[in-house]
């Protein structure tokens, strides 16, 4: 468990699953002896929110948290945007680069090349579509919900729309992006011919497995922190209507 008082350097040294978080929170390394809370404050990150995310990453289950801290959803949205940017600008291009090198290997037949390149092109499209949908529908919805929870009386129009769209709809329609990547790893390990450039294959597999792990952690975090916190706020806004 990560607590406020824990030295940030210890938290990271003992849990390297936390590493991807620092870029997303835009937190600079070089922690010295500073505690989790101090590092968060210096980097203008809500410490409660940081701890919810960090602990969600460390526990591999996907049980919704009880007693979630009342962090602002605005910080959640900022974090999700940074995560999306990381996938689109760093993780996916890295895999793409390696796949492009794989497509240059002389052992692969035309059918195998078509299969690989077609697969990755389509996967990339699906991935981007998934993220754009979140950016254009889900995140604006969350920001609006938070805005509506502040005034005494929420906008009636918003309230009636809440009866049609809620975060549970997102939860139902939310595809898991990692399944296809796992199939790609299986394809390389089992069904493609052996390649002379073994080093390249192993790098592709390591990169795929890192991305799969990250996507699983991220999806679990959404189940454990994002969705429960948003549904909680939905209930607050709806019950505010009755008063």
């Amino acid at each position: 468990m990560i607590s406020r008082e824990l030295a940030m350097c210890r938290a990271v040294l003992e849990n390297n699953r936390l590493l991807p978080l620092f870029a997303r929170f835009n937190i600079q390394l070089g922690f010295g002896e500073k505690s989790v809370e101090e590092v968060c404050r210096i980097n203008e990150v809500d410490p409660d929110f940081f701890m919810e995310i960090a602990n969600a990453y460390l526990e591999e289950d996907d049980i919704p948290r009880e007693d979630l801290a009342h962090f602002p959803l605005k910080s959640m949205v900022k974090y999700l945007r940074a995560t999306h940017a990381y996938y689109l600008e760093v993780a996916l291009p890295q895999v793409e680069l390696l796949i492009a090198q794989l497509l240059n290997q002389p052992e692969l037949s035309k059918k195998e090349l078509n299969l690989l390149s077609g697969f990755f092109d389509d996967y990339k499209k699906e991935f981007m579509q998934h993220i754009f949908q979140e950016e254009n529908e889900v995140l604006p919805y969350i920001l609006e919900l938070e805005k509506q929870s502040l005034p005494d009386r929420p906008d009636p129009e918003f309230l009636s729309s809440l009866k049609v769209y809620s975060i549970s709809k997102f939860e139902q329609e939310h595809d898991r992006l990692e399944y296809s990547l796992e199939n790609l790893s299986r394809l390389i390990i089992k069904y493609l011919p052996p390649l002379k450039n073994q080093e390249l294959c192993l790098r592709v597999l390591a990169e795929l497995s890192d991305l799969v792990k990250d996507l699983v952690d991220h999806a679990n975090m959404e189940d454990k922190v994002l969705i429960p916190r948003v549904s909680e706020l939905e209930q607050e806004v709806l019950s505010g209507e009755k008063d």
């Binding site: 996907d62 299969l115 996967y123 898991r176 199939n183």
Partner: protein, 197 residues
């Protein structure tokens, strides 16, 4: 590879994690989800018709005995008791918090063996024979219309099948389904058309 899913429901964190850590040592077993309270479990369990359930006697007593009486949970539930303090009985197999690791593993294994006599796969994620045929034809480059002609189905039925396949596998694109078909031995790379998908 047929892995059996197990759902673990216990209020106590220590107890739950203890059971999960034993289950994780057993080959062919996956803990699909943990629960610490009832309402979420009751909803979840109805969508998971093949998973085993390990549940504490306190949660069991509190809850949904009606659900258990309906029959389908009867053969796949194991009750977790504490220091044998439970008289609920009713024929369910039990494990106790004081049982040793080996005994617990044996009891769960016995229940698993009784279960896997059926077609031990999860229908939620496993394709039906008809769906497999459709995945095969999609991988070979058939359009929905051609599939309908080949299998004597209406185009509408084919579209419904494709939607269900997409939901089950979380894969929608033709190329994604093709790779799925290869790694699940529904088709070989050699059978694919040489034209790009």
């Amino acid at each position: 590879m047929n892995r059996t899913g197990i759902i673990v429901a216990a209020e106590s964190y220590l107890l739950r994690k203890g059971v999960v850590s034993i289950l994780n040592r057993m080959p062919g077993v996956t803990v699909v989800r943990e629960f610490e309270a009832l309402p979420a479990l009751e909803k979840f369990i109805q969508t998971r018709k093949r998973d085993l359930l390990v549940i504490t006697y306190t949660l069991f007593d509190k809850s949904f005995k009606s659900l258990f009486n309906e029959g389908d949970l009867q053969d796949r539930t194991i009750i977790l008791t504490h220091k044998q303090e439970w008289e609920g009985g009713s024929g369910f197999p039990t494990i106790d918090s004081e049982d040793g690791k080996g005994l617990i593993m044996n009891k769960i294994q016995a229940l698993l063996d009784a279960q896997t006599q059926g077609p031990g796969e999860d229908p939620l994620f496993t394709l039906s024979p008809r769906e497999k045929t459709i995945v095969r034809l999609v991988s070979l480059g058939y359009t929905n219309k051609q599939i309908a002609g080949e299998l004597f189905l209406s185009a509408h039925t084919v579209i419904t099948h494709r939607k269900n396949i997409g939901h089950k596998l979380g894969i929608k694109s033709v190329s994604g389904l093709t790779v799925y078909a290869i790694v699940n031995n529904i088709i070989t790379i050699e059978e694919l058309s040489s034209n790009p998908v």
